[in-house]
Symmetry: C2
Subunit: 343 residues, 2 copies
């Protein structure tokens, strides 16, 4: 019995197709495994000269930039989608509109070890990764022309990863992207109706119901969203209200790392290290929005930062691209049950 | 020099990343080719009993339903995402909202020949395919609970095709999907400003400029959109104003088939038969929208049906999923030049 479920945050509907219900063993586990040759990998310690100079690193005391001794290292992407030295113009060409490709595109090399990947990171390695996200965002948001920073991690070939050596990416944009703009509008309109945060309400209900909860610690919880667009999708979210990831404390970073560690270990055990995307959604910094003086008004109260883990078990095809409707063949309640069982 | 381009129809920005500029030979041509075993294929003539009974077919005179003799055959999907016998309920569960999974999900078996695929279809085979789309949409739209029909074709494994034998799919939905809702809103607001159709204006400019035009016949034109989200993306569109594909005449079906035939042949020659999705966007039938009595007001004047061809040369990863911003490494002007050269 299929049903349609509403994702209020993104204002989309999802088809939960129980008819086609897929249990974990129905998914073919045939991920394209590749092990890049470390001797040819530009992210290896000792080959720092093959990348642009680092902009941030956590290093052993006494080691110099662009030499070995780092635990995590951030560099500009050698083939950036956007560039900081681009002019910030806006122009039209008859009916078409364009603007300059100003921005930053950086690579966060999560580990010096060619063979370590997030599904076997320790909690402490994950903590260092999120610590680095926070520091780099804080630094780049000092540029007043940056309106949003998207941090993400592509894990596995099918999730769009190109280089084998583990890394995350950061793209700093001159404009708030549509998906975040929609989330802000949806959270604001919910707040206007109820004077409550949409995601605080969702967390409260999920914790009460305990049907879609996968993991829960002192400060964070992990659940499979009611209107999951992806099978075995998970949301990792602070149980306390907070709009802005960059304000996270060091203590909470540890709790976040623990929650993410457990979530990814469970997924990885269930599907033998499947491909997934990890996406951080947080409120943008306060900027002047020239056509709306109230764009950020009270955003602290109604926006709630969170992390999405999107397993790429199936390909989005013509239907999804044509409609922005998604078909999910595994109800999130079942997904949560299978994930909870794995330790 | 990267730049951002605005897609007014979908209200999204695209990064055209000239820095990473990819020419055709930069794309690795390693499509997963598979040839399903015809003896095990449920879409073969003579095995009609393996599928649900047909709902439409074009057949040789004198042949009976669900027997060989068909040129094209439409059947309900054996594992439908939505079902016509589902109740049409709407309900809430605390903060969550759902509705019944009512709808239709059909498979259009484009050809009886296991080994023929759209990239080597004749113009006449393509015409029969579009003729069938039109007939099946006309029939299903008689059900007043159907608000939108999405017709699409997944070509190649990387484009989400599951069964090897060539087929298109049709999903009839109980709700206008977000992507179409956005297109209608964007076209209406453009019309409100200018009293002109957005896509008529785009066609006029593209035909005048001749920079992104790939092919052009009496009634249809093919171009790479200014803000293409996918490299080598093409739009196939009537040069005359028409909001509704289901009203296309038989004469225009021939011209459409010719335009699509040329577009796909060029793409196929450039990349040795790459994976792509083909998506039809047309105005929905007039229905009661309970919260907006004017939803369809004058839609005939401002909506313009069209077909998207979306080559799947790259994987949408964390950045695209997180932001709904797309990065396209091949400027559409260059894509059009390469496509024009192929015959």
């Amino acid at each position: 019995m299929p049903e349609l479920r509403y994702n209020r945050l993104s204002n989309t509907w999802v088809i939960i197709s129980k008819e086609r219900a897929k249990r974990p063993h129905d998914y073919p586990i045939e991920w394209r495994k590749e092990v890049g040759d470390p001797s040819k990998c530009p992210f290896e310690p000792g080959k720092e000269n093959l990348t642009p100079p680092e902009v941030y690193a956590i290093r052993e005391p006494g080691t110099k930039p662009d030499t070995p001794g780092w635990k995590i290292r951030v560099i500009p992407n050698k083939f950036p989608a956007l560039k900081p030295d681009e002019p910030f113009f806006r122009e039209s060409e008859d009916i078409h509109d364009r603007m300059g490709g100003f921005g930053y595109h950086e690579v966060i090399i999560d580990t010096p070890d060619h063979f370590r990947h997030i599904h076997n990171f320790t909690v402490s390695e994950i903590q260092i990764m999120f610590h680095t996200y926070r520091e780099r965002m804080r630094q780049l948001y000092q540029n007043k022309h940056i309106y949003y920073i998207q941090i993400f991690k592509n894990h596995g070939k099918e999730a769009g990863k190109s280089l084998y050596h583990s890394h995350s990416q950061l793209v700093a944009l001159p404009r708030i992207p549509r998906r975040i703009d929609t989330q802000i509008a949806q959270c604001r309109s919910y707040y206007k109706e109820k004077e409550r945060c949409l995601l605080c309400d969702e967390i409260r209900y999920e914790l009460k119901q305990q049907v879609r909860i996968v993991h829960d610690n002192n400060r964070f919880t992990v659940y499979t969203p009611f209107a999951s667009a992806f099978p075995f999708e998970m949301k990792v979210i602070p149980k306390f209200h907070s709009d802005d990831f960059t304000k996270i404390t060091d203590e909470d970073l540890t709790e976040l790392a623990e929650a993410l560690f457990v979530a990814i270990r469970k997924l990885s055990k269930l599907f033998e290290d499947p491909p997934f995307n990890m996406i951080l959604h947080t409120s943008p910094p306060m900027r002047e929005i020239p056509w709306d003086p109230n764009y950020f008004y009270n955003i602290k109260k109604f926006f709630h930062w969170h992390i999405e883990i999107l397993p790429r078990m199936a390909i989005h095809a013509g239907f999804e691209l044509g409609t922005e409707f998604f078909i999910n063949p595994t109800p999130p309640e079942e997904a949560a049950r299978y994930l909870r069982e794995k330790r």
